[in-house]
């Protein structure tokens, strides 16, 4: 597919429906609320608290949009229209956990997605109809987009000497935690779609994201090391469970 064709498809099929916009906005507000619920101060101060809440919602908004866009761009390139689906029960459970834990635990879940088969744009593709492999790959593009976004944010901050800013750390860590949580194999999260197709690719991609996040926690920022670690884990998994 040429670039012009792809851009034309993006122009036509990227825009969100009214229901999607509503659901994405609710998701952003709820996740931002959970993230900013506990600002870490020993005493409640109105202005810093609401400033922190606003910043958290902004951070959540960017990350959710990156996540949804990653899935959408991947879907369009494969001839599908991706529809964002909010996971209401999961969101309510996450809110309950946040309240009970007084904000020390927050679970940023995005929700699910639906693929719409675009008959004309799927002509010529092998496996013309909807299939689990495409579903899994497109779903996992959301968390992977979050990892790429987190890396770009960190890298730009390092180049411009802004890495010590709290907001940069907030953006970076939120995106990584968001990617890891959404790769968990809980339906309808993105990880479940890939795992239901095939466990081996799921193990590789999840291990990559998790390894990158864990290494970043220890100030080791490397995709290559994360890929090597993911490959090793994938081989171990294959020998232990699949062989």
């Amino acid at each position: 597919m040429g670039l012009a064709t792809y851009l034309d498809k993006v122009r036509r099929y990227y825009p969100f429906t009214f229901l999607e916009i509503r659901n994405i906005m609710i998701t952003i507000i709820l996740i931002g609320f959970m993230y900013g619920f506990n600002d870490g101060r020993p005493k409640f101060e109105t202005i810093p608290y609401f400033y922190n809440m606003l910043v958290s919602m902004g951070v959540a908004a960017i990350t959710v949009l990156v996540f949804v866009s990653g899935q959408r761009f991947a879907g369009i390139s494969a001839g599908y229209r991706v529809e964002f689906q909010m996971w209401w029960p999961g969101m309510v459970v996450a809110l309950i956990i946040t309240f009970i834990a007084r904000g020390w635990i927050w679970i940023p879940i995005a929700g699910g997605m639906l693929l719409h088969h675009m008959s004309g744009h799927r002509l010529g593709f092998f496996r013309y109809g909807l299939n689990m492999l495409d579903n899994g790959i497109i779903a996992s593009c959301g968390p992977l987009a979050c990892v790429v976004y987190a890396t770009i944010v960190k890298q730009i901050a390092v180049w411009t000497n802004l890495a010590s800013l709290p907001i940069i750390n907030k953006m970076y860590w939120f995106a990584l935690v968001f990617a890891v949580v959404n790769m968990l194999p809980i339906p309808p999260l993105a990880g479940s779609k890939l795992m239901y197709n095939s466990r081996a690719p799921y193990v590789f991609i999840f291990a990559f994201i998790l390894a990158y996040a864990v290494m970043a926690y220890f100030n080791l920022f490397s995709w290559i090391l994360a890929l090597i670690l993911a490959f090793v884990l994938w081989v171990l998994y294959y020998i232990r469970y699949e062989q």
Partner: protein, 111 residues
């Protein structure tokens, strides 16, 4: 003589929900949080009741009722808030959630 029905795991689900409600009440730190958690739990159970409305089982009612019993029991130890308000807010959550689900506010596709 009728045969004795063997016990199933579902017969003991009420114990799990009493414990769940009890623990949730114990770790909730203030009256406001207590009401909010109660309301949100009501919202969750309202959705479950709506989803299972075609073939609702006795276990569903057990789940909804015994969670609340555990929650109120937990509250009697911590002493936050008024149990009557908690029960009212809980059932308000169920009714609101059931109504919104019936109006398909949460979307048509069930995930």
């Amino acid at each position: 003589m009728p045969a004795v029905k063997p016990r199933r795991i579902e017969d003991y689900i009420f114990i799990a929900f009493i414990i769940l409600g009890f623990v949730a009440a114990l770790v909730t730190g203030s009256a406001i949080m207590y009401y909010i958690v109660s309301f949100l739990t009501g919202i969750l159970f309202g959705r479950i009741l709506y989803k299972k409305r075609q073939a609702i089982k006795f276990e569903t009612y057990i789940m909804v009722t015994f969670f609340m019993i555990g929650f109120v029991l937990g509250n009697s130890i911590t002493g936050y808030g008024d149990p009557r308000i908690t029960i009212f807010v809980y059932f308000l959550g169920i009714v609101i959630s059931y109504y919104l689900n019936a109006k398909q506010f949460f979307g048509i596709v069930d995930i």
